[in-house]
Amino acid sequence: MKKELITLNINGDDHEIAVHPWRTLNEVLRDQLHLTGTKLGCGTGDCGACTVLLDDQSVSSCLTLAIESEGHKITTIEGLAPEAVANSNLENCELNPIQESFIAKGAIQCGFCTPGMIMSSKFLLEQTPNPNEDEIRAGLSGNLCRCTGYNKIVEAIADAAEKISPTK
């Protein structure tokens, strides 16, 4: 069956690609564009590992058709620290404050859920710049983590919120 030529705007860059209509955004990001920061977990919208932002709204890329993503602004985990991605070097480059907080607070163990967690955190902090603990936990209700027990992730988000929008 014929592929369609589409242009996807990802992390500020236009990518012209040919896709089959049944390909999800997750497949195209990972398999065609090699942006493998976005993970594929359950494939049914339960685990949140595949979370990306579509026009600044968090969505499950495993349930989004690539061809319906044309004309929208797509942000993946790679887009939060473009310099680090370009240089393949985490030592001397700037990370997003949420990423820094996740590292500083020990909110990463195996790391598989982390990109999705961070994209959900980014959406949460844009909607609610100074969330309380309940709001943080509700904001993460669509993301599963099997290692951390969540507490460190909640701490990391509170820490990032304070850095991005200081309350005092």
């Binding site: 497949e27 919208g45 209700s141 669509g142």
Partner: protein, 291 residues
């Protein structure tokens, strides 16, 4: 899992969309937000030759309010939009509560209230409140429109009264009568994200003497379709609303519930929870009606 192959259709008018439904009858599926349809495709629960998206059809999004008539929720209005809509919060805040209780943040950013209704799952979060509020589903075949009372919309699990060439374009929710209140109550194993084990929507209208004039109670996940608690509704009519009458209404609702045991809850537990949640819903609805 990779989705099965299909031809993707994105019509730009309702007329075109309905013509495609007619043309590919039996071989076509509709998607709006896709949060249910893509999963069903992935699981091979459906294998359509054609997948038609409604997203390019103008005027299906949006939420509006006409004084005296009520709210209109477009087929493409997202769960998130209904959750946060000032119009919904002002006119029918329980619809926002139900939308908020649906799935996850990501799913609410993608999925639609109409999609949740049209999937006709007996446990759908957004159905009981719409039933309680006596909503109507606007269905179009591209040429003419009809309004289906929500009581007649659900025919069985996953089956609605929509014809093969019809698209549900909007939900109409009538303005509440004075001295009315609504409540949505849900219980589920995880309390967030997951599918309801039991959910209840209730609307009550009181007269000046504090007696029940209208009662509509919808019970989800306790039958093949959302069920009305007819015995409880009849019992409440004309009665003074007290703790005792509300408790009795809860007991009668449990009698009308016909649940099965499954992974989410046993039949016995569901019956008990119908009683608890119905009483709780009535209390909250009456509280709103008195204010």
């Amino acid at each position: 899992m990779t989705l099965p192959q299909f031809t993707f259709l994105a019509p730009t008018s309702l007329t075109e969309a309905c013509a495609l439904l007619e043309k590919h009858k039996g071989k076509i599926k509709i998607k709006a937000g896709g949060t249910d349809m893509i999963v069903r495709l992935s699981h091979r629960a459906v294998k359509p030759d054609y997948l038609m998206s409604l997203k390019k059809i103008p005027n299906l999004d949006g939420i509006s309010y006409t004084p005296g008539e009520g709210l209109t929720i477009g087929a493409l209005a997202l769960l998130r939009e209904v959750d946060l809509s000032p119009l919904v919060l002002e006119q029918a805040q329980m619809l926002a509560r139900a939308a908020h209780a649906t799935a996850t943040v990501q799913i609410r950013n993608m999925g639609t209230v109409m999609g949740n209704v049209c999937n006709a799952s007996p446990s759908a979060d957004n159905i009981p409140t719409l039933v309680a509020m006596n909503a109507r589903i606007v269905a179009s075949c591209g040429v003419k429109e009809r309004e289906i009372p929500i009581d007649e919309f659900f025919l069985g699990p996953g089956r609605s009264a929509l014809q093969a060439n019809e698209i549900a374009t909007a939900i109409k929710v009538p303005t509440l009568a004075p001295q009315s209140g609504v409540s949505y109550q849900k219980i589920s194993p995880r309390s967030k994200v997951d599918i309801a084990a039991v959910n209840i929507g209730a609307m009550i209208t009181l007269n000046d003497d504090g007696e029940c004039q209208v009662a509509r109670i919808s019970m989800g996940a306790v039958g093949p379709t959302p069920l009305r608690a007819r015995q409880a509704e009849t019992f409440l009519l004309g009665k003074k609303i007290t703790d005792e009458t509300m408790a009795e209404a809860g007991r009668l609702a449990a009698e009308d519930a016909a649940p099965i045991s499954d992974v989410r809850a046993s039949r016995e537990y569901r019956k008990l929870m119908v009683e608890v949640l119905t009483t709780r819903a009535l209390k909250e609805a009456v509280g709103f009606a008195k204010n």
